[in-house]
Amino acid sequence: MEELTVVGKSVTRVDVQEKVTGAAVYGYDLVLPDMVYGKVLFSPKAHAKIKRIDTEKAKSYPGVVAVVTGKDAPWIHGEAIRDKPFLAQGKVRYVGEPVAAVAAVDEDTAQAAVRLIEVEYEDLPAYLSPEDACKPGAISIHEDFASYRKMNFILPGAMPNVCEHFKLRTGDVERGFRESDIVLEERYFVPTIQHAAMEPHSAHAQVDPATGKVTIWVANDAPFRALHEISEALGLPQENIRFINPLQGGGFGSKGGLKVEPIAVALAYHTGGRPVRVKFNREETFISTLVRNEAVLYIKSGVKKDGTIRAREMTIYWGGGAYAEKSPTVCIRGSLPGPGPYRIPHVKVDGYAVYTNKPVAGSFRGYGIPKVAWACEQHTDELAKRLRIDPLEFRMKNVFVDGDVSYWGERLHSVGLKETLTKAAEAIEWGKTSPSVRGLKIGKGLACIQKPTRSPTLSKAGVIVDAKGEATVLAGTVEIGQGCSTILSQVAAEELKMPIEKVRMAPLDTDVIPYDASTTSSRSTYHMGNAVRRAAIDAREKLTEMASPMLEGKKGDLAFADGKVFLKDHPGMALPLGEVVRRKLGADGTVRGDASYTYELAKDLDLETGHSDNASAFYMYATQAAEVAVDEETGRVRVLRMSAAHDVGKAINPLNCAAQIEGGLAMGIGSALHEHMIVDDQGKVRNPSFLDYHLVTALDLPEMIPIVVECPEPEGPYGAKGLGEPGLAPTPAAIGNAVADAIGIRIYDLPLSPERVYRAIQQNKKKVA
């Protein structure tokens, strides 16, 4: 194989200069000429009929341009299930649901007019936990559910409010339990948390009065999905809708889908062609965009004395909030590998995505895996304890290796899991115990995961080489902070054999940029990396064709290096690529390469068994290990050090890999120790601010040890897999296992707040006494 010159190097981020000077323009910064300002009236009720809305006073308030309600925007959108109105129609389903919106000459005027809108509600019973919402006799949160348009993979449940029922059936779990020496059953719980990207949500929209074309400026990480969804809802052809992406200040899953966009569009139809800006403040971002699913997880396993796992049964209730959004697919792709990366002959999983009267759950970094890992990986430690086997040894004995057939029927390859286990454990001196000091109990724990990516999906890309010898990459992957613009620039530079400084990324505008499914699921390096690589090769081949007569050599005798093309035998007579373009096409000429990449599935998951012989384009494997100190007096858990070994296939940019892992760890540690969106018995979020919702600060973090493992994926570009999401997936479980090791008590619910740990210690003392 040719030596790589740019790929595999820790090159500087290509987008960082504008970020450190303040020049970068984010969605929240965008100013459009002649724009008006939108504000929203949010539902104060968790579940209620709307008896009456009176907007007259708001409409006549000086400076108001438009007031809209669900009647003015009779549209419904949704990806997996089309269930969500642009503005509430007839009823509200959670506290924070947009009910009406005002556009005015400035934000203060719009806000003042919002306060003049009168709404009369009639309360309905509200369901604030997924288990309550699907009990027999519960009333429907969506009365018209049966008539909603649904994707073909959706299997609605027989119980009330279940919008998706995922089933996995392998072997015979009852037989497996009978054959086991030890059977253990437990219940775990993961609460709702919020993405809390530092940039709050916003959207700008404009409707061209002449053509009817709808343009939306928004930092959305899946602009093509959003375009499709708006097109379907409005009944407009896709070419009549355009998404333009300003820079995105973080997302972590929250900025896909439609949140502020429908409100901006609804208003834009009533402003006489003026653009509308709708900005959510931090509180509005907390209550009315997207959150992470809460999950109730029941897990039961049977093991033999020899340390093999015979059977595992899981029932998972994924609390989805008021609308389906990503919950059905989180349910599918989170429940499928829910039993963990282990060889188990008898497996049964039932995953239920359940509507509740709470904020809408969307995708969140990890896509279900952090929740199933919290249950499965602590359960695995409890089994190891009962078998008197070291948790690391127990995992090494049972985890997937190359060639294993998973319990969903897929033969696995490129499984770097064992290497991640060994390296993560080594990094925190696994097996070496630290003595307790001054009321602090010290413990160690680890957890491992396997994560699929969204499949099948399509990425298309273009690469343009101009007469200056510079390249422009056209790719629909969104720079959300993860570094994709650098990674894709490296790929293009590698294939065109030019310095990375000569490569730039085109701005993202759906009118000109080729299709990409989404910037989600850690799919971009693999899918878009492949597409950009192929497009660059396509451009290179065209340049080869053009240069061959100029250099008087056969195409096969040409080679590229340093932005030049030359005959292999005469490297001294090199032509700069720009000159090749100029000679053939003139000073304004360009050469364009195009390509697409998709991973074809042989067949979809079977709806009755969950089986597939290739459920994912690739799998990500990771192990994290934690050492913690627990203060028995206060219940406070401190993470002392934490390692994270991630199988990335091939590190295109090792520095960026370490950065992604560290960021994931920080988010994982926050979700383990203190993050929790608290919803009261009226369905109201009690801590929608950074004062009350505790994000980790620079003071809260331990020594972090990122470890890159490279077990190449043959289909991936240069062997790469994905990395963005798994960084936080095993973190809470590893910390939970370390806490259990330290104090000898298993804690089943997140977060591991001082209060919860303190109570567990006190309760245990009572039990022992």
């Binding site: 500087t12 981020r13 987008d15 960082v16 200069q17 504008e18 970020k19 450190v20 000077t21 303040g22 020049a23 970068a24 323009v25 984010y26 929240y28 910064d29 100013v31 993405h195 809390a196 990207a197 530092m198 940039e199 709050p200 820079l247 995105q248 200040g249 973080g250 997302g251 972590f252 403040n281 931090r282 959300i480 902070g481 993860q482 570094g483 520095l655 960026n656 370490a658 950065a659 560290e662 960021g663 994931g664 760890l665 920080a666 988010m667 601010s689 950074f690 004062l691 994000l695 980790v696 600060t697 620079a698 003071l699 973090l701 972090m704």
Partner: protein, 159 residues
């Protein structure tokens, strides 16, 4: 009620006629068009809007414009030293201190203010100084590293 104020903004004398209750953050972003200063919460909890007011770091979302007559204000747009990036900006580029970059301007202003006061901070002192600046992407490790590197460069320049 509008108020006439005269401030020094990024080294330039600037006369403004603004509503007294307009927040400094909104004054910078909406009236003057300097959007490098970011809004993350509007309630003084995240530090994204940090600017230097008379040499001290403040959350610009908590300052009324009416109080600013005679003030010296430095924002991210004024952090460069002449045409050259400030060492802390260069260190953020080199060390991977920015990911999505939304917290970066506030983080840089806070880091500059720390280094003005304490040219040789420990890791702990850096973490303490930056504890009011939230970042959701990086896990802070590379930010702390960048501030250390910038401190070293500044010390070398002075020596």
């Amino acid at each position: 009620m509008n108020k006439k104020i005269r401030v020094t903004l990024n080294g330039k004398r600037t006369d403004l006629d603004v509503p007294a209750h307009r927040l400094l953050l909104d004054l910078l972003r909406d009236e003057i068009g300097l959007t490098g200063t970011k809004e993350g919460c509007g309630t003084g909890d995240c530090g994204a809007c940090t600017v230097l007011l008379n040499g001290k770091p403040v959350n610009s979302c908590l300052i009324f414009s009416g109080e600013l007559d005679g003030a010296d204000i430095v924002t991210i747009e004024g952090l460069k030293i002449g045409p050259e990036l400030h060492p802390v900006q260069k260190a953020f580029i080199r060390d991977g201190g920015a990911q999505c970059g939304y917290c970066t301007p506030g983080m840089l202003m806070m880091a500059k203010s720390l280094l003005d006061e304490n040219p040789d901070p420990s890791d702990e002192e850096i973490r303490f100084a930056l504890a009011g600046n939230l970042c959701r992407c990086t896990g802070y490790a590379k930010i702390v590293q960048a501030v250390q590197d910038a401190a070293a460069e500044l010390r070398a320049r002075r020596a």
